[in-house]
């Protein structure tokens, strides 16, 4: 069951990458000057319009072509992370636009510079609001790691298929693998629900 490690590691790396880059991209998408905003919008729309599997295969074959020799694992993480970045950016934009504009104006009027307005006023509220869609994106990522099996990363699905090839216990192994995914995702969504409950105190 070394596959479970690969599944968890690739999910975690992609989620971290997507969260960091996604928030940055989300800021560009919301507050950037027009050129930056258009570029961010293009990135988000294009990546959300292409199936994840195509992105993974494209990254896997395409990166090698540009002389970047990465393993299948890293190609997959880059593709997954890039895909999720677009989703997180869109979640962030949605969260920010749901914050009353008076908040930003009030922060401006007390003379906070842009970075501080973001840091102390907008982001704390935005994070609270984007928590539910963020958990959904995380679940999508965990499920998306199964696609890495297609480019030969031995994650949970491929590991269990290899085990099946040895012992022919096909039904048992698929059911078991399914249960592991359900366990991971159910735990994640419970944690998400709990965090949500903890952070809703400030919603008026």
């Amino acid at each position: 069951m070394s596959g479970l490690g690969a599944t968890l590691l690739s999910s975690a790396l992609s989620i971290v990458m997507a969260t960091v880059l996604g928030v940055l991209l989300g800021v560009a998408l919301t507050y950037g000057w027009i050129g930056l905003r258009l570029a961010a919008r293009l990135y988000v729309d294009v990546l959300r319009g292409i199936p994840l599997l195509v992105l993974i295969l494209f990254t896997y074959y395409g990166l090698a072509l540009f002389g970047v020799n990465v393993s299948a694992f890293w190609a997959g993480v880059i593709a997954l992370g890039g895909f999720a970045t677009a989703h997180v950016a869109e979640n962030f934009r949605g969260a920010v636009s749901s914050i009353p504009s008076g908040q930003m104006e009030a922060a401006k009027s007390i003379g906070l510079p842009f970075v501080n307005r973001l840091r102390y006023v907008v982001l704390p509220q935005a994070f609270r609001r984007m928590l539910p869609p963020w958990v959904n994106t995380a679940l999508e990522i965990v499920k998306g790691t199964t696609l890495l099996s297609i480019i030969g990363v031995v994650e949970l699905l491929l590991a269990s298929q290899q085990a099946m090839a040895r012992n022919y216990m096909i039904i048992d192994f698929y059911l078991f693998t399914g249960l592991v995914y359900v366990a991971i995702n159910f735990t994640l969504s419970r944690i998400g629900a709990r965090l949500e409950r903890r952070f809703t105190f400030a919603r008026s």
Binding site: G49, I50, L53, V54, F58, Q161, M164, Y174
Partner: protein, 222 residues
Amino acid sequence: MIDYHFDWTVITRNAGFLADALLLGLGLAVASLAIGCLIGLLAAYARLSRWRLLSGAVWIYVELIRCIPLLLLIFFLYFGLPELGVRFLDKFETFVAALSIYAGAYMCEVFRAGLESIPRQYVEASKAIGLRPWQRQRYVVLPVMFRITLPSISNNLISLFKDTSLAAAIAVPELTFAARQINANTFRVMEAWLTASALYLLTAYAIAIALRQVERRYAAIR
């Protein structure tokens, strides 16, 4: 930038192949959406039924499917079912079955929310004019519910269309499979994947625009 010479003749030579693949993907998505809507509608009614056992069973179905990766479901139906003695499905039917089961869980949630959002007064009014229970559903509840849930249905169609790319994993010759084939046969990596990406993107946008028109025509009554 490295030295890469684009050679788009690979694409023009395979245009027919790619077009067939794209249409197949669309067909798979539409078929799965239709079956998925049926499953979802039945499941939504079951979910809202007063019978605890039934609504509990549907809850488990929805939660399980939403936690299981689609690829696992496809492999389970494709490799697992024959073990259990179900051998009559070919790979297309298996894929549509998997995608429908998957879509059914999502549509169930959509329809449940839709059914719950219908004002009680509608049902009471239709009772008052003496409609039978099935007439109430047929002429009052369902039409309103479909209008309310139309945007979610079209979003689901788009994501199902993107999910048809997973059919490549069981060698259904749709767009991803076609691109992979071109990639493997000719080594024109960029051409193959750029074309596939562009086709997916354009089709998704075309569906979105077309359905936006439908939505405008049948917009929910506010």
